[in-house]
Structures are given as C-alpha cells and as structure tokens.
Symmetry: C2
Subunit: 689 residues, 2 copies
C-alpha cells in the first residue's frame, strides 16, 4: 500500500487507469508528462527514452494493404510538423534502419466494416519501437498514439520507454456533420477527417440532405442537387475523394438522407413525392421542424427511392445507409383525405404505423441494394426490431431498453456539440451508463457506441472547427478508453494539449476564431479584445434560436460566433479558486493570485471601451464588458471578507447573488464564464463564521 502511494506521487497517470503499471521500481522512474487522448487500455512504463532526431525512420516490416505505405509517409510528415525535424523518408525503406518497425499481421477489408479490428500493441525501448496490429486500421491507430507520445524536454524530443496494449471499448465512434443547414466545402471536411483520425474516431456520418439543402450530385435525379442546393453540393468525384481520404485514415463514411420528413429540399426539385401539392422551396426562413413530407402511400415514391438509393448505394460503399426518419410532424398526412383513407384501408392506428410502413418499404429497397438500415429513434417499431440500428437522440434509457429488446443502437443523446455544453458534460455521458447496469453482457454488446453530432444551424466553414475541437476529443476518449477514465481535471489537462496538437496538424479552430475577432476589432488592438473574449463562452442552439430570428443567410460574424464554447482562462481560474478554498488554511499566495486576476479584469474596461466603441459588431458586447467589471469587483469584495475572515453582510450577499443570477443569463447570446468561480468566492465569504 505504501509502495502504491509512492507510485502515485511519481505518476499522476496511475490514478487514472487501473492497468498502468511499472516495470522498473518507482524510484527509477521519471514522470513522463504524457498527453494521450484517448488514453490507451493499458500502459506499462519502463525507464529510458527513444530519442526522436533526424535518424528516425518508421519502416513497414510486414503488411500488404496499399494504404499502409501512404499512412507511413503521412506519419513522417506529421512527425516533422510536430518536431520541425526533417525526416528522410523518401528513400527506399531498409528494415535495419527502422527506429519504428511496423508489423501488420492481417489484410484490410475491402470496405471497412463495423467489425474491423482496431487493436494494436506498441513497444518502445531506448533503442527502437515496434508497432504490431492485426489489421491496417490497428496500424493507423497505433501511429496516432506514437505521434501523441512524442514530447520534448530539456534534452530532446523523445518517446518514453513503455509498452501499450490498446483496443477500443466501443466499435462505433462517430461524428455526424450536417452540411445541409450550412454547407462545408471538401477542404473543411478533410480537415475534420484529419482531426477524427487524430482522436481515433471511425465513423463519419454525413448528414447530406435536409429541409435547407440537398448536397449530393445525383445523376439519376439531377434536379435534386440543381434545385435543392443553391449550387452548394458535392460532385460525385468529390464524394469519392472524401471516402478515399477517410478510408486511408480508418474512417467509414455513412451517408444520411433524411426521410420522409426533413425533405423540403427534395420536394423543391420533385414536388410529386410530397404528401401535399407543391410547389416547394428550399427552407430559408428559419431552423426547426417543418411539415413537408414524402407521401408513403404513393408507389412513385418507392420507384424514385429505389433508383435513388441504387445510385447512392454504389457511390457510398459502407454497409450502412442512414435514412434519418426523425421529426415527422404528420400534419401533411392528417390533412390529406387520400392518406387518411389509406391508413384506414391498411388498418393503421396512427402516423407512426404509416411511417413504419414507409420504413419497411425502404428496408426492402436497402436490402435489394445490399445495405443495412440505420435511423433515428423514431424508426424504432417492433416490426423492424432485428434489422436496424437505432441512433438515439432521446435518452440513454431508451437505448438500454432497446438493447434489452434485441435492438442494436448508438448514442447521440448528450453528444450534441451545437448545444455548446462543456467537454466535461459530454465526458460523463456513457453509452453504457447506469441505465445499462442491469443488462446482460450480450444485451450490452448491442450498444455499439456513439456519435457526436455537429448540427449546422450556427456553424459555417469558418466556425465549424471551433465547435468541434477540442471538445470532440473528450467524446472520442469516452468511446475508446476504459470506463474507469473519469478524472475530469486530468481530461482537461490533456484536452488543452490536444487543442494545440490539433492546431499543429492543421485544424483551423484557433486561427479562425482569432480571425473573426480581428474582423470585429477592425484595426484596433487585438490583445485587448482577446483578453476580454477569453473570459466569455458561446451559447447553444436553444439560446440562440430564442434570441433572434435567424435565416440561412444571417451573418454569423458576431461575438457569439467567434468565441469558443469553453473559456480556458475561466477553467484555470476555477481550478485556482478551488485550490485556494479547498481548506480553511487559506494560502496567501493563491489568494494573492486570485486578487491579481480579478483586479486585471476589473481594469480591462478602460482599454476595451474604445475598441468596442469603434465597431458596430461589438456594440452588443458593452453590457458583457460591464458585467466582467461587476463580477470582478464582487469577487474582490468577497476576497476582502475572506482575507479578513469576516462573514459577508446579508445585504452585500443579496446584491452579489442578484448579480450572479443575472450573469447566468446570456447577453448577446454569450455568457461570461467566470461567474461560477465568483459565486464560489461569494459563497465562501457568506459561510464564514
């Protein structure tokens, strides 16, 4: 026991994963300050390090898959980006020169399936390293781990000596990207795939059609993209390019064509598919749920879908095909005498039965074209039980219930990135949460994993990456790493590093956010802006939708769009406040640090005011800047009571709490992020006896 405590002193990692162990005695160990994310299943540390210098070379010793050589070139390129050291990897590989030897024991699948083996083992000594995997996908995952292991200290870039055995906890670790509400060009999609590969995600769920746009070139029904996209669609050559790009990184691409609802853009092109007479137009007025809907009673709809799905089934090789199926209002169905009669004739009790009828026809079409069906919660019906995967946006409990009934599912509840929840919120959402505790092992296996969802009402090519990264890395870890990974503080420590790592490898979330702030500040002092906006955090879909009427073409160029979903500065401040208040022996040094920060924020307004005054885009920031001052002032007052060990007067408390309650409400669709920490100071000052 004493031994174990000593180990914890040396290795904060030991607190995190039961399976971290040490080959050497703790006294010999240095503490490698690792930033792995997602954390591997087991790590055994040894003493020593593998130095990364210009002699480094990774060589494929065993492996046939054509993706492997390209992945190794890419690995070298990214290692160059990470270290700035030019690596000579163009010349012919000689296994004797290998500092990292790669063995891929088995073949790759022609089309990557959900059952792909992603496991790998990685052994690093002070002389060389060896990566062994059963499949190319395992090699890709292991190379990402190796890249993350590369750190530097006062001596060199290096990888610590260790042994890793790793495999994912869930086989389905996806990211949905909605390109209908706002369009994303191929270069952005590729950058997103790069980020997904970095955090070992394996399903790119491409939400390609919705009321606001149909985004794929159809050669069979060209009006779909011509009339349904305002020119913003992917050519089939581009789709193939993206799929190849994803496949090279061990990522499946699953298309979603949402139906029978969310189909206004289809109906703008082919109104004859609708349940009510047209004409229809691409939905440009607002976001939400609309009534236009395909007519499940018309044979022409199924003829159409047979041809369309036949075309798309070839274009998208994945075994799964997502048919959406969510949020059918049923109003068009109720309004149509013909459809009402059909329901009576077919003895359907309700619109749910009618939608299931539609889905059964779809299922037949999908089967004909060799595809399996996946859809949102709403497709769930006893008739479809065995044949579908349900993607749950509702509750974890429904996923568990489904699994109990024999239905496969993936979780998206709790993973909606557009809700702008903090990474810590997503991190605690588990597909096998307490709702699944009573399931048998077999039933649990039906819960395949989860998908983060990037709905696009409030993102565009400039904004999407700051809504994805780094938070998605926390979800990726939840889906890959052992359940026992639950230390939020350590997750944030690593997430901060991943944020920089993703930027280093090309993600644009940081640059684009700065760019937008520059635009708002005009020629004015950027540092002043940045110090202010670092204290803010963005709000999510529901807040923004209530705040004002948004149209497809509403400019997303305001503070609410430019700032990050979480404030690193506020997070660090919260840790400082927690540390300072963690016991009654208040550290004078920590109190001093809190005081300095609050004083700095209180004084910020003098330099900020003229910057705000110059920009019409910043006008709405004025109350926020004043709130920062007020909160800082209140925090300083609380600190004075705390330092004097004097209970804060009731009247002051009331005033402070009123301010804090007000600060919990968004202004200009933005929140000041230091509120909760100031509340802790106020609470502490109130509790002094």
């Amino acid at each position: 026991m004493k031994m174990k405590q000593r180990m914890l002193l040396y290795m904060s990692l030991a607190a995190l994963i039961p399976s971290v162990s040490f080959k050497a005695t703790p006294a010999e160990l240095q503490a490698p300050d690792l930033y792995l994310m997602p954390m591997p299943k087991t790590i055994t540390f040894d003493t020593g390090r593998l130095v990364i210098d210009d002699n480094f070379k990774a060589v494929l010793a065993i492996g046939e898959d054509s993706r492997l050589p390209a992945s190794i070139v890419r690995f070298h390129q990214r290692l160059q980006m990470k270290t700035g050291i030019p690596l000579n990897f163009a010349s012919s590989p000689d296994i004797k020169q290998a500092m990292l030897e790669i063995q891929c024991k088995g073949p790759g699948e022609r089309v990557q399936s959900a059952a792909a083996d992603e496991s790998y083992s990685l052994e690093v000594t002070d002389r060389n390293a060896r990566l062994i995997a059963a499949s190319p996908i395992g090699v890709f995952r292991g190379l990402e781990t190796f890249l993350q292991l590369v750190v530097s200290d006062d001596r060199s870039f290096y990888v610590p000596s260790l042994r890793i055995e790793d495999e994912p906890r869930f086989l389905w670790r996806g990211l949905l990207v909605d390109v209908s509400r706002h369009w994303e060009p191929v270069e952005v999609i590729k950058r997103i795939l790069d980020g997904m590969a970095t955090v070992k995600m394996n399903v790119f769920h491409w939400h390609l059609s919705d009321d606001q746009g149909f985004r794929v070139e159809s050669r069979v029904f060209p009006k779909l993209h011509i009339k349904g996209s305002d020119g913003k669609y992917y050519r089939q050559s581009e789709i193939k390019d993206v799929i190849a790009y994803a496949r090279a990184r061990g990522i499946r691409v699953i298309p979603e064509f949402d139906m029978p609802g969310h189909t206004t853009a289809w109906l703008a092109a082919y109104p004859e598919l609708a349940s009510a007479p047209g004409p229809y137009q691409i939905e440009r007025r607002s976001w939400g749920v609309f009534d236009p809907c395909m007519d499940p009673t018309k044979n022409i709809v199924y003829f159409f879908l047979d041809s369309f799905i036949g075309e798309m089934a070839v274009l998208f090789p994945d075994e799964y095909f997502h048919i959406g199926g969510d949020e059918v209002t049923g109003k068009q169905w109720d309004a149509s005498a013909r459809i009402r009669n059909f329901k009576v004739r077919e003895k359907m009790k309700n619109n749910r039965d009618l939608q299931t009828y539609f889905n059964r026809q779809l299922l037949k079409i999908l089967k004909k074209h060799g595809k399996k069906m996946i859809g949102w919660d709403e497709i769930l019906h006893p008739d479809l039980r065995k044949d579908v995967i349900v993607q749950s946006w509702r509750r974890q409990a429904s996923l568990a219930e489904g699994a109990h009934l024999g239905i496969k599912g993936i979780l998206s509840f709790g993973y909606y990135l557009d809700h702008m929840r903090p990474a810590s919120f997503h991190y605690q959402i588990d597909p096998l949460g307490k709702e699944a505790a009573n399931l048998t092992e077999q039933e649990q296996e039906r819960i395949l994993g989860g998908e983060a969802c990037m709905w696009a009402e409030f993102v565009n090519p400039e904004i999407i990456e700051s809504r994805l990264w780094p938070r998605t890395a926390a979800i990726a870890e939840r889906l890959w790493s052992p359940f026992s990974m639950q230390d939020t503080k350590d997750m944030y420590r690593r997430l901060e590093y991943m944020d920089i790592e993703l930027d280093l490898f090309g993600a644009m979330h940081r640059k684009n956010s700065d760019r937008m702030l520059h635009r708002m500040a005009g020629g004015a002092d950027f540092e002043v802006m940045k110090n202010f906006t670092d204290l803010l955090k963005a709000t999510g879909y529901s807040t923004r939708r209530k705040a004002r009427q948004y149209y497809s073409l509403t400019p997303l160029n305001r503070l609410a769009d430019a700032i990050m979903p979480e404030s690193e500065t506020a997070l660090r401040f919260e840790i400082l406040v927690d540390d300072a208040l963690s016991n009654q022996f208040l550290s004078a040094e920590l109190i001093q640090q809190i005081q300095e920060r609050l004083a700095g924020w209180q004084n910020m307004n003098d330099t900020l005011k003229p910057v705000i005054a110059r920009s019409y885009l910043l006008e709405e920031a004025k109350p926020l800047s004043e709130l920062v001052v007020d909160l800082s002032k209140t925090g300083l007052e609380a600190l004075n009571y705390i330092k004097a060990r004097q209970k804060a007067p009731e009247a002051w408390q009331k005033k402070a709490l009123d301010l804090l309650d007000g600060a919990d409400k968004p202004q200009a669709e933005v929140l000041v992020a230091i509120g909760p920490s100031v509340r802790k100071l106020v609470g502490f000052a109130a509790d002094i006896r």
Copy 2:
C-alpha cells in the same frame, strides 16, 4: 495655409500623396481611417459612404475575358471573409442590382505581357460604385483596392465615397521564390500568389533549379527531376495549374533555370554536360557558390539545352525566360586544358567572354523558341546589350548605368527578403533612386521595376510566409505607388493592417509562427513565450551562415526560425520613446507608459525561466531572456535620470553603452529588438545638462 492645416488634422492621408483632394469642404469630412497598400495614384474624397451589407452585389456590365466572372466570384468570397456577411452571388447577375458595376473596356492578352494595361478608375458614392478598366488586369487591381477600402465603424461595414484613378509606377513588380534550396508545395505557392495579388504584384519569378535541386518534371530529360530533386519536383500538370492560378490573378510566371553555374542538380542527372568529369550529387552539404558548371565548349550542351528549352518554352507561356547566369566561379573552366585551348582558339580574354559566348548560344536557342532572355547582372556584356533584361542584385548605380547604355533592367538589390532587413529599409530602395536622377526620360523607362527575392536557404513551407509577409507589401507599394510616398511611419501603420488582412485572406505567416512557438514551448504557457518572442527579431542569411554549419536537412525549428523579421512590439515602443523624447517638455504620461513596459519586461524572466528550462529547443534563448532583463533595467535607470533631469554619470553611461553594443550582436542567431529604443533613452539621459 490655415485651411490646409485643418485638412491635415482631418486627413493624415493628405500628408502622403500630393494628389489627395476633397470634393467637400474639410469640415464636412469624416476621417476615413484607410489602410490601402499599395496606395493608389490619386484619391478624391467626398462625403458619404457605401454601406456593405447582404444586399451588396458586384456585377460585370461590360467585359468578355473568361477570367472576369471567376474573379468576381472570388471577390465576393473574399468580401465575405472580410465581413462575415453571406453574399448571394450565385444567382444570375442583374445589372440593376449592382452595388458595384464593373466595366472592362478591352480584351485580355492571351498571354499577359509586361505591357499589360493595369490602370483602373473606381468611383464610390453612397448609392453604388463603378469600376472601369481597360483590361481584365485593371479589373483585378481595382477589385483588390475595393476590398481594401472596406472598413467598419460603429455603424456598419462601408466604403467611403471617393474617386480613385490608379495605375502602377513600374510595369514589373515581381517576387522571386527559390524552391531549390528548400522545396515549396503547390498549396504554398498558391497562397503566395494570393498574397501577391492582394498587393498588386504582377511577376512570379520561379527559381526552379539550383545546386540543391531541380524542381520541374522534364519529359524530354526525365533524369533531371528523378535524379535532381529527391522526389520534390512539380509535375507538369501542377506547373500548368499554378500558371493558370497566377494568370487568373493578373500575375505572369517566369521560370528561371540558372546556368551555366548553380547547376549541380542538373549535373547529378547528366554529368556529360559538366566542365569536369563527374559523378555529381545534389548539393546537400551547405549553401553558397559551388564550382560545378556546364561546359560552354561542348556542342552536346547546346543540343541538350535546345531540346530542354523547347520543352519548357511550351510549358511556360511567358515571353521571358530567365537563364540565371550568376556566380560562375570559373574554376572548372580554368582547370580544363580543353576549355583553356578553346578560349585561346576563340580569342577570348577571360571567363566572362566564355560565359558571354555561352549566353549568345542560349540567346539563339531562346529566340528560336520565341522567348526573350532575362538574367542576373553577370550576363551583361556589350554583345548582348539590346536583347536582354538584366536583373540587378548588385547596386542601383549599375542599373542606371545600364539604362544609360540602352539596357533594360529590373532591381533586386535591396529587395532580398532573406537578409531580414526591416520593411522600412526595403521601402526606401527605389529602382529610380538618386542614381537615376541624371537619366533622360527615355533612359529611365528602361528601368522596368523590381523584384523582391525570397532565397530559400533558411525557409521551408512552414517558414516562408513569415519571411514574405507583411514586408513584401512595402516593396509592392514602392513599385506601384507614386515616388512621393515616403512616410515610413504611415507605411508601418498600414502594414500592420495588411498583416492582418493577409492573414484574413488565408496567408499562414502568423499561424505558422505561433505553431512553431507552441512546438518549442511544449505544453508550457504560450502567452509567456509570446510576450518574450514579441521582443525579438530574426537575423538574415549572412548572420546565420556564419553562426553554424547548415545542411539541407538541418532542422529549422529554433527560435531564429519561428520569430518574425520585425518586432511590432519594439516598433510601437520606439514610436512611444520618440514621442516622449521629441521635446524637452517630457510628457509624464508617456514617460509613465515607457516605465510600465520596461518594468513588465524586466519581470518577465520569472515566468519565462521555467518554460525555457523545460525545452531543449529553448536552451539557447536563456542569454536572450537575460539580455531583455538587462536592457529593461538599463532603460529604467535611464528613465530615472531623465525624470530627475539629472545627467547620467559617465561610468553608468559606459556600462550602458557596453551592454547596448553587446545587444547589437546576435545571440542564437536572434536579436533583441528593443535595444535601439533603450539606446535612445540612454543617449537622452547622457545629454541632460
């Protein structure tokens, strides 16, 4: 006179260009805080503004060239990037909706020539704007001006009402990019072309071969790129793509194949062309001037060059072809009995005559393939006088002398970006400087313009943009704008904005510099690093080459590579010090500001030390960080003497000057940029009576 003073109060612009004028009376004028670069030839301001909102639309009213519609789409996209306002430019253009009407009065050239008409006029009222140009190139230039005119204030994005008549002072405004010493991929080249278009440059001089690499696919002589490039070469399809990209932006592409010297990479592939027996290898040991050289006495050399230039003449459509011709050591020629005999036989006095003989043969080959010759100073010889353009890296005087003798020339002396001189240095170098004062108008016209040169010993894809931008914009202005533009302070004011503008439009100089600093800091606090490195400036080729032995594969991942050529922070500090010391009535407020900054820098080391200690890449920064402390301390001491109006003691002066002299010498190939300002403070303190 009084009137004029009032105007100056309103319009700092008025100080800059004689041709700025006002339609309205000064009292009616607001001061539009414009950031144009290069500054147009004439601007007439009126009251009013054209608001830029989502109604904005540019429409081509007159113009046939196929590049025009694409340039207008690109203009809209970039206006979106600048404002964040989605513009509806996909739908069919209706001239009635035009907020900016574009008239292109004449056709474009099939291949853009040096004589292309780049003039345009732009009129902006509070209702709409009109851009009129004689050619598509003029439209491209005018659209860039319009984009730069877009600013925001507390009311909106807008363009002030005005009338601009503009045309370039010089017809040749180029940028040389060396891709031999270090390779640059196509995406980087395209970003560079975007930047060039932003600042209205019109010649991309592509230095494609040198001792360190031959970078073009040759189908006639494939060993050139196979043996001469380590796999880092442009496929012909990529060359065509780059030329089309440049042409779409009004930029000519001139290839340079340097010969007969600087040809080691050719000779590695075809040693039979050399003046001494091979074998040869791509030069990987160091930078500089090497002896391997083509043999001008062998017929096979001219057969080879005839075929090769024939191939390249088709690939590169520009009328000019750059044959280099610089830095032939002649050692191989002197060492060869056969070549010595040839010279005797042909009555050649020296190697210069032999090189001219070579150039005459080259000239015949170029003429045969429809090309005009351009080369470096060394090709100049009475025999070639009328037929060539000389690019002068030597002195402005030689350019003037040449012009007097009838030779056309362009200036590169003073425009070497790899020397890391400040923008202000380049800004004062003029192709028609005082050396040209005595030339006739006709003689002056032979001086066609200039080219900035980005030699690539110390740049790679990650570094090149921070060496190009924003400094190249100052050279671009020198070559475009009236000679009367000489206000360095105002140039810097606008350059700071261009820096951000270039970043906004996609240049990576800022992001890559930050990325490199992040890499060096590891997981450590970036802000601390940044505050420190903002005080430093990079050194140039000669300093670095002396400092250590560099190889092609030497990592460029150190402080000297990551930091900028100029320190904005130091520039601002210098302005502050100049203002404070500008008269004997020292402003207490300014003195206070100086004191605060110096005190901050003096204290920086405490937080910086642990960051430096953690990173082997930062070890060499330690003396620099100590120098910052010492300089700040000395500055504060000087300030105390100044505040007390007490002459600084001799002993203190001597110590301070020793420190400052030391600070003028680079450490770790880096300079602390605040030295000159501290020297001013010390000098002021020493001069108190």
